[in-house]
Amino acid sequence: MADYVIETAKGKWEVVVGLEIHCQIISKSKIFSGASTEFGDEPNTNVSLVDAGMPGMLPTLNKECVHQAVKTGLGLNAKINKYSEFSRKNYFYADMPTDYQITQFRYPIVGEGNICVDLSDGSTKNIGIERMHIEQDAGKSIHDLSPTKSFIDLNRAGVGLMEIVTKPDFRSPEEAGAFLRKLRSILRYLGTCDGNMDEGSMRCDVNVSVRPYGSNEFRTRCEMKNVNSVKFVMQAIENEAKRHIEVYENGGKIEQETRQFDPSTGLTKVMRKKEFAHDYRYFPEPDLPPLILTDEYISAVKDEMIELPDAKKQRFISELGLTSYDATVLCENKETADFFEKAAQSHDAKKVANWMMSDFFAMLNKKHLDITQSPVSAENLGALVELITKEIISGKIAKDVFEIMSETGENPEKIVEEKGLKQVTDTSAIEAIIEKVIADNPDNVAAYKNGKTNLAGWFVGQTLKLSQGKANPQIVNKLVKEKLDN
C-alpha cells in the first residue's frame, strides 16, 4: 500500500494511530450479576441489587462472559492468560452505581495478538493487539428530558465489555477503517459481540499523533472518545492529524488531552486536559478472587473455534479459485460466506461468486434485504448457475430467470420449464430461422457479399431475436457465417 503522507508547504507528515475498542459481550446475563442484558427494554427494568450498588451486594463472575472473552482472544490470534485478575477503577459518576468500575488492569485475560487487515489496493497489513480485558459497562445518563434534572437508566450497568487495545500500528485512516471492519467481522463470526457501532455495542476511542514522514519518534497523542462509526473514525484521524500538523508547523506544542469528536462537523474539541485527568486509584478487586484458567479449559474453547474470515478467504482462493477481492467480500460476514458455500456446492464456484457479486447483491440492495432474508435461496442460485454451465439457458435468459426468482422465490428449473426458456441447440431449427432471415433481407445479403462482412452480426442478432433469445448464440454465429458464405 502506498504510504499515507500529508504534505504541506513546509513538509511531509505521517500519522500514528492506536485504537481502543469497547465491545459489548453477547451473553444472557450481565458480567457480575444475573440481570438480563436485553437491549431496548423499559428503563431500569434489567437491574439487580448488585447492579444498583446496594449496600452489602457482591459481584459474582459470569462464566459465559469469560468463555466469550477467551473465544475472542483466540480469534485475535492472541495469548490467553491463565492468570488474570480484576481491579477497581474508582471514579464518581451518577450512572456508575458503586462509583467504581470492575475492570482488569495489571493482569488482563488476553495478551498480545494480531489481526491481518485487507487494504483497498489488495495488499494486507498486520495490526498488533496489545491486550484485551473484560470489565463492566456503566449505565446511561439522560440529560435532555428535563431542563433541571438528569435521568439514569441502569439497564446497561453491569453488561460485560471486552476492551481491545491495539498497538500504535495504524499509519492511515484507511488502515484503521479496515481494521474495524475486520474486527467486527471476526466478532460476528464468533458470536461474541454484535459489533453494531450505531447502537453502541462497539465503541471506539482513537489515539492520534503525527510525526515527520519517515521518522520513528512518538509524539504526544490525543485521545478521541466514543467515535461511533467506521467513517467517523477515519474522519477523526484525518482531521485530528491536520490539527496537530498545523500546531507543529506554527511552532506550537500538542498537549496530551482527551477530545470529543463532533460527527456534524467532523472536527474534534477539547473534553479534558491532562491536568484534569482522573486518578482512578486502581487496586485489586477484593470481592473477586483471581481468574485462573486451565490448559484444558483453553483447549476446549479452541476446539469450539470455527473457521474465521482469513482462513475461509484463503480456502476460497486456493480451493475454489476465487479472486482475492471476491473472496474478501464474500467472507466479510459469515452469513454471506455460508450462503456462497451452499450455492457453490457442486456447481461452478467462480460463476456463483460472479453472480453473487453482481446481480445477487444488486437485488438485495434494491430490495433493502439482508442476505438471510433473500427470496433467492442458495440452492436455487446454484441451480441457476448449473443451467448456464450446462448451456440449458444462455446468460441473457438467466438474467430474466433470476428476475423471476427474486420475485417468486421459485426454483430456476421450474421457471425455465414452464416458460419454455430452454436454449435451442438443435441446428436444423436454427438453420430454418437463419434461412428465413436471409430470405427476408436480400439487400443486406447482397451488401454482405459485396464485402460488408460486419453485417454478420446483424444477421446473428435478427436470428436470436426471432428465436426469442433461446437460440444458442455460438451455434447461431457459426451457422450464420456458413450460410452467408455459401
Binding site: L49, A52, G53, M54, P55, G56, M57, L58, P59, T60, L61, R88, N90, F92, Y93, A94, P97, T98, D99, Y100, S150, I152, D279, R281, Y282, F283, P286, D287, L288, P289
Partner: protein, 484 residues
C-alpha cells in the same frame, strides 16, 4: 425459673425443648431488659413486635416437634447486616433511612434455624472504630461501668453490651481488625472471628472486603460454637466464601488439650505491657499446661508492622467501598447545584469524622505516586505477616495472646480523642489475625483490679475453629469467669 435471660443459648434451648419456658415468654423477658437497659444505647432499632411474632411461630414449632437449631432464641443483630424490611443504618447518618429489600446470608441462615430478631445493634459508624463512639446514634455504655460511663469497645459495641446486659441471648458481630474480639473482651463476653471465607459477606455492609468477617458474640464458648455453626457456610453469592463443610462445632468441644502445642508469641509481650494483662496471659497458659498442653514461645517477627499495614489496607478498601453512598440512589441526600456539589454536600454531612478520615487516608494511599509506597508495600507486608503465622503453625497448634492491651476506658477519653493513633493502638493484638485471615476467639479470663473484664485471644490455623473452641472451652472451665 429465676432470670431466664441469664441462661446461655444452649441452656435456653434445653429449657425450651423441655417446655419449661416458651419462646414468647423468653422474648418478652429480653424485651423487658431492652427497655430497662435503654441507657446503654445498645440498640439502634428495636423490633419487639416482629420478634414476638417470630417467637409465636417458634412456640408452634416446639409444639409440633419441628423445632430447628436455634428455634425461638432471641438474638440481637449488628446494624451492619442488611435485614429485609428492617432499617439498616451502619450507624451512619448517610443510611439512617435505609430499609433493605433483602436479607444478608448470615442473618438468613439464623432465621432459617428459627432465631428471633430483637433488633439492630449499635456500632461504630461503618464499623470504623474501637470504642463505639463514632456511631451517629451516640456511644454505647459498657454494662460493667461503675461511676463513669465506659466504652464497650468497638466496633461491635452494641452487640457486646447487649449480650453482657442480657438484652439478647447472643448477637452477631463483624470483625475487620478486632471488632468482635475487642468489645467481647471489654464486656466480658465470648466472641469469635472465624476464618476469612467461613461466613458469607453477602448483605453485610462492607468496610474492608478482604478483612471483614462475621461472627457471633455470646455468653460462652459453646454458644459461640452453636451460633457460628448456624451462621457459617459456603454462599455462591460471595465469591470469597469457601466451599468447605462446616463442622458440628458445639458437639466437637470435648477434645483433649494433652500434648497440644500452644504458641505464645514473644512480640506480643512488649516492654511496658500492662502487668495485669501479662499475668492473666501467664495464668491462661498455666491452665493449659496443667491440662497437659505444651507451652512454647514462638516468634511472629513482622508483628510490629501489622498496625501500619492494617491502617493502610483497610482504609484503602473502605475508600472505594463507601463511594456508593453518594446520595443518588438511596440513603441520605443533601441537594447541590450540580452533581459534584450534591456528592460533596451529601458525603460531608452524611459521614462522620472518623469515616471521613479513613476515606481520605484510603484515597491518599491509592493515589498515583503514592500507591507503591503505601498500598503496594502494605500488601507485601500483609503477605509477610501471613507467612509469619504459617511458619509459627509449623511449631504449634494454636496461639494464645491477650485480646487487648487495656481494659474498657471512659467514654470521651481525652487521649483517645485527641490522637486517633492512640485509639488505633488498642488493635495491636487483633489486626494481624485479619491480615492473615485466621480464626480467633476472645474469651473473658478475669477482672482487672478495678473490676473490669480482660480477654484472652486464641488464634487457630485456617479453618481450624474446632481447636480454637476446644482450647477456649478448657480455659473457660478453669477461669470460672462470672458473667454479669
Amino acid at each position: 425459673m429465676s432470670d431466664i435471660t441469664k441462661l446461655t443459648v444452649c441452656e435456653t434451648l434445653k429449657a425450651l425443648q423441655n417446655k419449661e419456658i416458651s419462646s414468647v415468654e423468653l422474648t418478652k423477658a429480653y424485651i423487658e431488659n431492652m427497655e430497662k437497659g435503654r441507657h446503654y444505647n445498645a440498640y439502634i432499632t428495636e423490633c419487639a413486635d416482629k420478634a414476638l411474632k417470630q417467637a409465636e411461630i417458634a412456640d408452634k414449632n416446639y409444639q409440633s416437634g419441628n423445632n430447628r437449631l436455634l428455634e425461638g432464641i432471641p438474638l440481637g443483630i449488628k446494624d451492619l447486616f442488611c435485614t429485609k424490611d428492617i432499617r439498616t443504618t451502619a450507624a451512619s447518618h448517610i443510611l439512617d433511612n435505609f430499609i433493605p429489600p433483602y436479607e444478608s446470608t448470615v442473618t438468613q441462615n439464623l432465621l432459617n434455624d428459627g432465631a428471633v430478631f430483637l433488633g439492630k445493634l449499635n456500632l461504630d459508624e461503618f464499623a470504623m472504630g474501637g470504642s463505639n463512639e463514632t456511631s451517629y446514634f451516640g456511644p454505647v455504655v459498657n454494662p460493667w461501668s461503675k461511676d463513669t460511663d465506659l466504652v464497650p469497645g468497638g466496633s461491635s459495641g452494641g452487640s457486646a453490651a447487649a449480650v453482657a446486659a442480657n438484652m439478647c441471648a447472643a448477637a452477631t458481630g463483624t470483625d475487620t481488625g478486632g471488632s468482635i474480639r475487642e468489645p467481647a473482651a471489654f464486656c466480658g463476653c465470648t466472641g469469635i472471628k472465624p476464618t476469612y471465607g467461613r461466613c458469607s459477606r453477602y448483605g453485610i455492609i462492607a468496610f474492608a472486603s478482604s478483612l471483614d468477617q462475621a461472627g457471633p458474640i455470646a455468653k460462652d464458648v459453646k454458644d459461640c460454637a452453636l451460633l457460628l455453626q448456624s451462621m457459617a457456610g459456603f454462599d455462591e453469592k460471595d465469591s470469597t466464601s469457601c466451599d468447605i463443610a462446616v463442622p458440628d462445632f458445639p458437639n466437637l468441644l470435648n477434645g483433649d488439650v494433652k500434648g497440644l502445642v500452644v504458641g505464645v508469641p514473644k512480640e506480643y509481650r512488649p516492654q511496658g505491657l500492662n502487668d495485669e494483662v501479662a499475668s492473666y496471659w501467664d495464668k491462661a497458659a498455666e491452665y493449659l499446661k496443667a491440662r497437659g498442653a505444651i507451652i512454647k514461645e514462638i516468634s511472629l517477627p513482622h508483628t510490629k508492622y501489622a498496625l501500619a499495614t492494617y491502617y493502610v489496607l483497610a482504609p484503602a478498601e473502605a475508600s472505594s467501598n463507601l463511594a456508593r453512598y453518594d446520595g443518588i440512589r438511596y440513603g441520605f441526600r443533601a441537594e447541590g447545584k450540580n452533581l459534584d456539589d450534591l456528592y460533596i454536600n451529601t458525603r460531608t454531612s452524611g459521614f462522620g469524622k472518623e469515616v471521613q478520615r479513613r476515606i481520605m487516608i484510603g484515597t491518599y494511599v491509592l493515589s498515583a505516586g503514592y500507591y507503591d509506597a503505601y498500598y503496594l508495600k502494605a500488601q507485601k507486608m500483609r503477605r509477610l505477616i501471613h507467612n509469619d503465622f504459617m511458619e509459627a503453625f509449623k511449631q504449634c497448634d494454636i496461639i494464645l495472646t491477650p485480646t487487648s492491651p487495656i481494659t474498657a476506658f471512659p467514654i470521651g477519653d481525652e487521649s483517645m480523642l485527641e490522637n486517633p493513633i492512640n485509639m488505633y493502638l488498642n488493635d495491636v493484638f487483633t489486626v494481624s489475625v485479619n491480615l492473615a485471615g485466621l480464626p480467633a476467639l476472645s474469651l473473658p479470663i478475669g477482672l482487672s483490679e478495678n473490676g473490669l473484664p480482660l480477654g484472652m485471644q486464641l488464634i487457630g490455623k485456617p479453618f481450624d475453629e474446632v481447636t480454637v473452641f476446644n482450647v477456649a472451652a478448657k480455659i473457660e472451665e478453669d477461669a470460672k469467669f462470672e458473667r454479669k
